[in-house]
Symmetry: D2
Subunit: 160 residues, 4 copies
């Protein structure tokens, strides 16, 4: 399930800026070797999370919970700036029946050096190995909600 | 802990072949963003696993078990052809007190398209999330020994 | 000689935008294999060419002409939007004694897919093979000033 | 026109070696931005040049000369070990009416770090800028036959 964020930003040579226009998630998935996993792709929105409204966070939480009832796990690709808000909103609806794993990136996949593929790789594995709950998984760690927040200076997530 | 294998093969422009000469594990680790993980590197050997002797497998198993007594987890980078043999040997010494995760690659890190970084990323996360035991982790799945073997035609590992 | 432009833009994970802060020209040069070439690097400015003033164009032209008197060729890395203006200014000072080759990129070197390395590679070779004059070299072609302009829709340079 | 060589070697995960099986030249050309150039592709052979016979060198020379009569330039992708032999054979048939540029690579395109794209980029530009003749173009230099040979220790070509 993809919602946009830095991880999916692409470069427009005409305007010279990075924007959320096309989902690059399919390209990323295509570059990974994944055995024994069937992925249903759901493109919910494609937004910089700084532009997300309360309705967006509610929609993400409800959709994650709904998908959790019919899948073995849910991975949500999300902008990091408001990721914790969507994670908290998801958990506020109750502990989901399977793991719901949020992930994102500090540097877009389009860049030569990026944490996007690493974080997606980790999320796809963590969703198979963790107990039911809501998590952010990136940068080599899996943190369970509640109490998760972005540390903008360190450029990653921490537990309060 | 590194033992060699395809994942670490480098290209020698003089002879034109891929060989196990230099450990590229440090380069791979340097390209990942890892938070809250301290890694002790142990370069045990640098062999194509097809060249491993029974003594090599025994040494790998004993070293993995020994390191498992003083760390929260052990990742073993290993050639895929004889990986299952080292995994079986490790488990034959008993269930280790922490996860011991074997990983490798079908295509060297030196190649433009490779599963090396994906597999190392997965191993480093799985070692934090799995129960004590011996595993192979690559291609989006974590398989517990015993009963693991390489499927050479599919180019991955399966459970018997 | 570098002046900035898209080719040198780097990504700032904190603000999430691409900017001209650090010259990546040294990284690009380090990734090429160049035999029999000695390069004197001159970091003149690091500007998006849309921000260049008439004084900037004059400074670039004068510096290129000055360096042309003491080198076998001069390569100027420049933003594409105002590259033609600097090229015209250089030729307005007279045909230089050696080739002066302007180059740039439509997509920054920092991106996974970029024309930056291709264009720099071409510029470094063209400066050895062309007659004295002022050129823009990128995208597989060498165009001699005057009469060169950027075609923003095609994303390249053309001869009027 | 492609003949094989290191530049085109691909990795076979089953056997674990680099071989000349598929021409990767189309992938390389697709990754470059080339304006105002029309390329006719001719896949003559796909051989490690160490395996080339005198007949192979003769065929390459004759084909290059034939294509030179109907094109503005000819680029020949060739293994570096016997490249000079094919270059000498081409010139022995006479100075061609347009530039014939040989190029190759010390490290296959399939590798993460490779000189393949740089050399192909240079060859495609040099063939537009040089006088009629036979050349090897790679590593930032264009060397005219006769008198060109590979320096295996330096990993490049030199003029005797």
């Amino acid at each position: 399930m993809s919602t946009g964020g830095t991880i999916e930003k692409t470069y427009d040579a005409f305007s010279g800026v990075l924007q959320n226009r096309v989902s690059v998630l399919d390209v990323m998935l295509g570059s990974l070797e994944l055995r024994g996993i069937v992925i249903d792709r759901l493109a919910l929105m494609n937004k910089d999370s700084l532009d997300m409204t309360p309705d967006d966070h509610a929609l993400i939480a409800e959709t994650a919970q709904r998908e959790a009832r019919t899948h073995d796990g849910v991975v949500v690709v999300h902008g990091t700036d408001r990721l914790a808000r969507s994670g908290d909103a998801t958990l506020a609806l109750g502990v989901p029946p399977v793991p719901v794993v949020f992930t994102g990136a500090m540097r877009p996949f389009e860049l030569r050096t990026t944490d996007a593929l690493q974080n997606l790789t980790e999320a796809l594995l963590a969703v198979q190995l963790t107990a039911p709950g809501v998590y952010v998984v990136m940068h080599g760690q899996a943190l369970a909600f509640p109490g998760v927040e972005k540390d903008p200076r360190a450029g990653t997530f921490i537990k309060r």
